[in-house]
Amino acid sequence: MATLELIDIAKRFTKKVWGVKKMDLKVEDKEFIVLLGPSGCGKTTTMRMVAGLEEVTRGTILLDGKDITDIPPRDRGISMVFQNYAIWPHMTVYENIAFSLKLKKMSAAEIKERVEETAAMVKIGELLKRLPGQLSGGQQQRVALARALAVRPKLFLMDEPLSNLDAKLRVTMRTELKAIHQQTNATSIFVTHDQSEAMSMADRIVIMKDGEIVQIGTPDDVYFRSANMFVAGFIGTPPSNFFNVECEYTKENISLKHSHFTLEIDSMKFQELGKYRGKEIVLGVRPEDLLIVPESKAVFTAEVLVVEPQGSHQVVAINLKEIIVKMVVSAETKVKPGDKIGLGFNIKRIHFFDSKTENRIVFKGGV
């Protein structure tokens, strides 16, 4: 069990290519951290630096307060699940799991006990005598997992471990991984580019973009209090809708003017918008915070483009000339393409972003 601290680490591959530009992160004991970001944002590079497979260009890595920046991988007390498993094809499942234990000079009896216990935890107890070539992708994944768990690492790294599995198995494994984490309590860093995977598994999510951290927070933080438009547009299925609006003040209200609608909001609740008077800002609305309302109460009306039933709910896409807006409605709602519907906003949950910096505009009174 351990804490991990990354202090101003960076990795430069060539003159122009930075794998990671700047990274500061503190992972608490027993925490399950997910690194999330689009492909190429530096997640793998970060993991490899922590594991010791890649030298840092700058910065310090502390594990339990001890500087491990320059010590070789085998002495770090870290284990890792690779994206394409990297289990050894010439060794049986048993030998794969026992490899690190043998090198640690554990006794044969201890090794046997540990291997069997770990294999049972990931449900491959019956496969110990097989070679990896005789296993399915999902089973190989479990071998990689067992191998990494058997060492009882201080820190457990997983680089997109589920991305090679089919959709159904991926969801099952999420649950299993989380259960294993609750059982072992190993401090873990999990990498994924799949935001729903991140949301469902993380204690805290670290969102990365172009080699830098954009936001660190709980799943609720990043969803309800997205730090900027990148996060708001990355998290959520479907992600946030954005409207460019003109911020104008009337006597007691702020009126947000969009080419399709004008939304009046209370100037007392949104005092911080004062400095944007007469300027353009971005209104961010989560798909479930756009509501179908009777036309009499509607802020605007629009035509339904497509309806995507999801079983538990439906995703409705609306065409507003220049943009497609997506909203989530209940399964019972009766809408079909071509319908004219009235729309309103859940004012308590709308967000504003500075249109230049794209950063979230924070209000003292909450929201």
Partner: protein, 286 residues
Amino acid sequence: MVPYLLIAPVVIYYSIFWLFPVLNAIIESFRNVDGIWTVSNYIHIFKDPVFYQALSNTAFIVIFSVTIEFILAFGLALLINTKFRGSSMFLFLAMIPMSLPAVAVGAMWSSGLATRGWLNSFLMTFGFIDDASKILFLAGGKMSTMLLIIIIDAWTVIPFVMIILLAGLQGIGEDVREAGAIFGGTKFQILRKITIPMLKPTITTAMILRIISAIQIWLIIVLLYGFNRLPVLLEQVVLNYDQLGAEYFERIGLALSVLVAIIVSAAAVLYLKVSGSFEKEVKQDE
């Protein structure tokens, strides 16, 4: 029917250009000058002490040159595979010996190793030796003549073995070795427990190819020492078949070449057996 039609050209080609001459050689090796069936050609060989010399010299060269070549080539392949700066330039340089035909190699070394050759001049220029202490590379005893052949052969074929091993190494993903490092392996343990076992099919291929061609070494020896100074199997085949100029010896040459073919096949099978059973042993001790 279709498959047979498709392989027919290959079968015909092999029958005409390979199978027929081979069968002919075998048949002729069992006949004497008068066309009478006999094993006298073989008896001649087995009574000839030079044959046994050739056999032991060849065995010596095969065992030592293949071992040395393998160790050095594997080392080089591992080095180049680390992709250090300038490794591709190094790879290019290392491949030069491979691009030279055997005759050129022979000419180069025999002119270099002659008493007034370039190697002695080189050593003199740099003051390692003086005119009185020139090294008589080619005049040495049997052991040093053989060592010289082994060194030259190694120089020529190490690039070839290295390329095969390098291709094999590159086929093994980086990640299985990285996993080895994370799960507690030192560089040497990773090499022994992961890289080499995974490279085994490639190693077997390289070794078999090398053993076969090492048994067939002759041209370089003849170019450096002439015939009969350091007898080896294939040199004796060429000598008898091509150089002595009598039909009697031609048939001896044919019989010898049949024996060489048998020895080559036996060596290959033996190697496969030995390396296969070795694998089983490892499995049991796990």
